[in-house]
């Protein structure tokens, strides 16, 4: 840029005037921004009127490959979670097309009663069966059933008391299950009406329940 001394005096005067700072009143900025905003609303009128315009408006989302993978994994995860929840709560039809057997007794009276004939294998007729665990414990104030089907969580399946009998119905997959009863939160005891599992070293034997797939 040439020095002003080298310019024509007239040009130098004009340049000096142009370099003077422009003084604006305080509301100028607000007026300009209002004008810009008005122009944008005029260009896209739907967005301004619709309360959910931001959500319904088409837009381009830029995602990194990692972000895209995370979103895809999230969608798959949602599908897995939903499928898992549906599988544990909804009985599936059997291979032969029969519906799930409505209920099968897995436990039997124990305290203060005789031991009836047990059912070591419960024909379920489907992959999932509703198994009813029964324990007679009149003196107990709380009974739960724990096993490999609920990760041995005593809070998962508390039993309901009807008189002196405690019952709970649990949907189980076909196969071999180990379980036990927890009485009053501290006394572990096997189901006396079911086969005993081998002592695994924790001191209290578990019971075994077989849930079969076929109805034959």
């Amino acid at each position: 840029m040439p020095d002003d001394d080298m310019l024509d005096p007239t040009v130098a005067t004009i340049a000096a005037i142009a370099r003077r700072p422009v003084r604006l009143d305080a509301s100028a900025r607000a007026r300009v921004m209002l004008a810009v905003d008005t122009e944008m609303r005029r260009a896209r009128p739907g967005r301004a009127r619709h309360p959910f315009g931001w959500f319904t408006e088409r837009r381009t989302v830029h995602l990194s490959p990692l972000g895209g993978f995370a979103v895809a994994a999230g969608l798959v995860g949602i599908g897995v979670v939903v499928a898992g929840l549906a599988g544990t709560t909804r009985p599936e039809p059997s291979d032969t097309g029969h519906d799930v057997a409505p209920m099968a007794v897995a436990g039997a009276p124990v305290i203060g009663g005789t031991t009836p004939a047990s059912l070591p294998a419960v024909p379920a007729g489907a992959r999932d069966a509703a198994i009813k665990f029964v324990l007679v414990a009149p003196q107990a104030s709380q009974v739960t059933v724990v096993g490999d089907f609920n990760d041995w969580n005593p809070a998962a399946h508390p039993m309901e008391r009807i008189g002196g009998t405690w019952t709970v119905t649990v949907p189980l997959e076909a196969g071999r299950h180990e379980y036990s009863f927890v009485v009053d939160g501290k006394h572990w005891m096997p189901d006396p009406a079911a086969p005993l599992a081998p002592d695994d070293g924790f001191g209290v034997a578990n019971s075994v329940l077989l849930v079969s797939r076929s109805t034959s």
């Binding site: 931001w54 989302v61 995370a70 979103v71 994994a73 999230g74 969608l75 798959v76 995860g77 949602i78 897995v80 979670v81 031991t115 004939a117 047990s118 070591p120 294998a121 724990v146 490999d148 990760d151 041995w152 969580n153 005593p154 196969g175 071999r176 180990e178 572990w188 086969p195 005993l196 599992a197 081998p198 002592d199 695994d200 070293g201 924790f202 001191g203 209290v204 034997a205 578990n206 075994v208 077989l210």
Partner: protein
């Protein structure tokens, strides 16, 4: 500024989605084993990984650990139990091969831990001729748990299997022995009595069953099916 706020909003919307991304199996196991002390948890996770590599059911080992946690067992005890079951699973796999289900493998591992010899497992597997050995193994372990000597229980189960016993026969045997024990009979006597009552199914020797000596189960002259 508006663009930045929208970007933040979009990220907030994606956050719940990312939170439900299924965790890897190891992470899920770790969360379930969180109540175990760190050294014990590390040992259990190592064995579970080894089980996966050996095509053994790792879920069983996890279940054992969770059972121990729920029963209030000490970490070292839990590790000991899981290690013992892992070894039994490996032995059962080596004995029975790969054509058995995870449930059968678990039952076989339990039988081995009860004192049933490996060769008896193989014999039982052979005599069942492709049928599931799950029920015989469950009954076998139950008998041993009720005080029947392992060799007696093993020979009785193999003998019944050789004479064509069905799952219902094994279940009946278990009920009968249990009833006799509750009536005061010794476990060995109860088993001997109930085994002799089994007539056999569709075999020449069915009318006159022979109960072999418990110490020599391999010499049972049971007919083939």
């Amino acid at each position: 500024m508006i663009r930045r706020s929208r970007k933040c909003l979009l990220q907030l919307m994606l956050l719940p989605t990312l939170l439900v991304v299924p965790l890897p199996l190891a992470a899920q196991d770790a969360s379930m084993l969180a109540r175990l002390d760190a050294p014990s948890r590390y040992q259990v996770e190592l064995m579970m990984d080894s089980a996966s590599r050996l095509d053994l059911p790792r879920e069983t080992l996890l279940s054992k650990a969770l059972e121990g946690i729920s029963k209030g067992a000490h970490g070292s005890r839990i590790v000991q139990v899981v290690r013992r079951h892992f070894a039994a699973l490996r032995d059962a796999r080596g004995t029975l091969g790969r054509d058995v289900s995870a449930d059968e493998l678990n039952a076989a591992a339990g039988a081995l831990q009860s004192g049933v010899p490996r060769n008896s497992l193989a014999t039982l597997h052979t005599t069942r001729k492709g049928n599931s050995i799950l029920m015989p193994l469950v009954v076998l372990s139950d008998l041993v748990s009720r005080g029947v000597p392992p060799e007696n229980a093993t020979s009785a189960i193999i003998n019944m299997s050789q004479r064509g016993a069905l799952d219902s026969d094994f279940a009946g045997l278990r009920r009968g022995v249990e009833t006799d024990i509750l009536s005061g009979a010794s476990p060995a006597t109860a088993l001997d009595r109930r085994t002799r009552e089994f007539p056999g199914r569709g075999a020449p020797g069915a009318q006159n069953p022979v109960v072999p000596s418990p110490t020599r189960p391999q010499e049972t002259p049971g007919p083939s099916r």
